[in-house]
């Protein structure tokens, strides 16, 4: 076999195996979308798994939080935000959440829908965080003094305000944590701001003035 024949054979064999290889890879992968290399900071420590909390379905969409200790000993959480993705965060330790006497570690989030009917408003708002074990029940107090129970599981909480609630005037102002006796143990202010958008700034959108609720 001369050199030219060898080259042609190599090209043909390469093309054949490449076709087979691609076919096998597609069959194995099922044409699935790519999965990036995992971020080691967001992987649970060896032998541990992520723990699911406060899973709930709002207008057919699944919301949840998962907690875990990562490979570097940090305390981390993942939060599902339907139709957009998963937010993750880590603090040095679970104890760090409750430093300086803090009993409720609260965070507020929000989003606008694509093509939102009102670019000055939120279409979804969520309040999430962590509370000390002595807090057995949580309630959110709105600016109009209405109250809403907050799903709480093993010190992890998440409550979601849907567009219909927000458009009818609901605006979370404060979290109230109760102990087993029903006594208020702790409160935390919720600093929800209007969306950081030019439309909201141009319209001068502001949070409603809270009333004095008993």
């Amino acid at each position: 076999m001369n050199k030219r024949h060898k080259l042609v054979s190599l090209a043909l064999a390469g093309a054949l195996f490449a076709a087979v290889g691609i076919g096998v890879s597609q069959a194995v992968g099922g044409g699935a979308p790519p999965v990036p290399s995992p971020d080691s900071r967001l992987l649970p420590a060896q032998g541990q798994s992520k723990v699911l909390h406060v899973a709930q379905t709002i207008h057919g969409k699944s919301w949840w939080i998962k907690t875990y200790t990562n490979r570097f000993g940090s305390y981390c959480y993942d939060q599902n935000v339907p139709d957009e993705g998963v937010g993750s965060g880590c603090v040095p330790s679970k104890r760090a959440l409750f430093e300086n006497g803090r009993q409720i570690y609260v965070s507020v989030g929000g989003r606008q829908n694509e093509g939102t009917p009102d670019p000055t408003r939120w279409d979804t708002v969520w309040i999430n965080g962590f509370s000390i074990p002595a807090v057995t029940r949580l309630e959110v107090v709105n600016a109009d003094c209405s109250r809403m129970a907050v799903p709480l599981d093993a010190g992890v909480f998440l409550v979601v305000f849907s567009g219909d609630q927000l458009y009818s005037g609901a605006w979370p102002e404060q979290l109230v944590g109760y102990g087993a006796s029903g006594k208020v143990l702790s409160t935390a202010k919720i600093d929800l701001a209007p969306p950081d958008t030019p439309a909201a700034r141009a319209a001068g959108t502001r949070a409603p003035t809270p009333q004095s609720c008993s």
Binding site: M1, K6, S9, L10, A13, G14, L16, F17, A18, V20, G21, I22, V24, S25, V28, G29, A32, P33, P34, V35, P36, S37, D39, R41, L42, S74, N80, V81, P82, D83, E84, G85, V86, G87, S88, G89, C90, V91, P92, A96, L97, E99, Y105, V106, S107, V108, G109, G110, R111, Q112, N113, E114, T116, P119, D191, P195, D196, T197, P198, A199
Partner: protein, 124 residues
């Protein structure tokens, strides 16, 4: 001929594992520096599957992701103490790129450092 066959076999094996090899994401936008209380920093609009915020643990801050029309697809206020946070377009573990700008706002009362990355699985 045997050498050609072996080389083709190696090529086929490489292509078979190609998806795993091709999964490295790429940095599409990045920035860092300092910002004063109340100030916001925003990266450019690119295809993005993941936004990352780091080295901001000294102050409370707001994580933001904007769509191309300026609407907010994600906003989360983070209390001081968080050492690393990220947001990935990976519902049910299936990741995809979306056209987004990542931003951060200093919610504290003093100047602090900020650091953000914006990554895509495909082209930026």
């Amino acid at each position: 001929m045997r050498r050609s066959f072996v080389m083709a076999l190696v090529l086929a094996a490489a292509l078979t594992i190609y998806p795993a090899v091709a999964l490295a994401d790429q940095l599409c936008a990045s920035g860092g520096g300092t910002f004063i209380a109340g100030e916001q920093r925003t990266l450019g609009l690119t295809w993005t599957y993941k936004s990352e915020w780091s080295h901001i643990e000294g102050v409370p801050y707001r994580e933001l992701r904007y769509r191309s029309d300026g609407s907010v697809s994600f906003s989360q206020d983070v209390a001081s103490g968080v050492i690393y946070s990220a947001f990935s377009n990976c519902p049910n573990g299936n990741c995809s790129d979306a056209f987004r700008r990542t931003a951060v706002k200093n919610l504290g009362t003093r100047t602090y450092s900020w650091d953000m990355d914006q990554r895509a699985l495909g082209a930026c």
